[in-house]
């Protein structure tokens, strides 16, 4: 993901569905100025890591 951001000079998505995605904090930070719509799915299997 970092490589992709470097290649394109940053990420500027306006709409994202985050499902089965790691490094969410990096992606959200990259799109801090542009993101308008965000799809969140707490039943995402990767959400398991947010439970103790």
């Amino acid at each position: 993901m970092e490589d992709m951001a470097a290649l394109f000079g940053g990420l500027r998505f306006r709409h994202m569905d985050l499902f089965r995605v790691k490094r969410v904090e990096f992606i959200l930070g990259e799109c801090a100025e542009t993101l308008e719509t965000l799809g969140l799915y707490p039943s995402d299997p990767y959400g398991e890591e947010f439970f103790e």
Binding site: E25, Y41, P42, E48
Partner: protein, 192 residues
Amino acid sequence: MKKTNPTGRPIVNNRALLQHFNLSRNKSLRTLETTAESIDAADGATFDFFETVLPSITSSAPLDVVVIYKEFDFSIMPHCSWCDSEAVRSCCNWPIPRVSEDVRFQRQFRAFREMHRVRAFRLVLCVDVFDCMVEGGIEALRRFVEAEKVKGGLDYLSQEPLIIFEKRSLRTRFVDQSPGWSMTRAIHASAL
């Protein structure tokens, strides 16, 4: 394995969650989308997820929370000859809900109220189903919204819930299992 508290609800690690889903930097954020299936999580974990994430939204723009309803979120749907095709029937082989539709919607409306308590938003309910099921889906949502309004369960909202739909056809979206959607038409619940 998830730990649970005495009520059986999983314990959410808020610190880990906020580390990943801190939305305070996203100043243009106007819409959060999720699925009714996520809201419907029987263990109540979704409450904790959104109660943690929603307050981190500091965008000054009004926030829409869009809840997407799929075919399997409705118990009664219209049936037509088009649905008899093998492809549709195999695609529509969704699991049978464990609890009744009434109970599931009551649980969802309770979740919306809890979410709104920590961050105000406009509630948008999106019927994202096959073409022939749109009418039944809208009718079902309208029925549940009206029933909730009669009970005063939506009094906390400053605006009427918005009901919108996305028609899907076999030709264009059959193999598309992504949770994405696009708005094609919006209907105010009060106008139905």
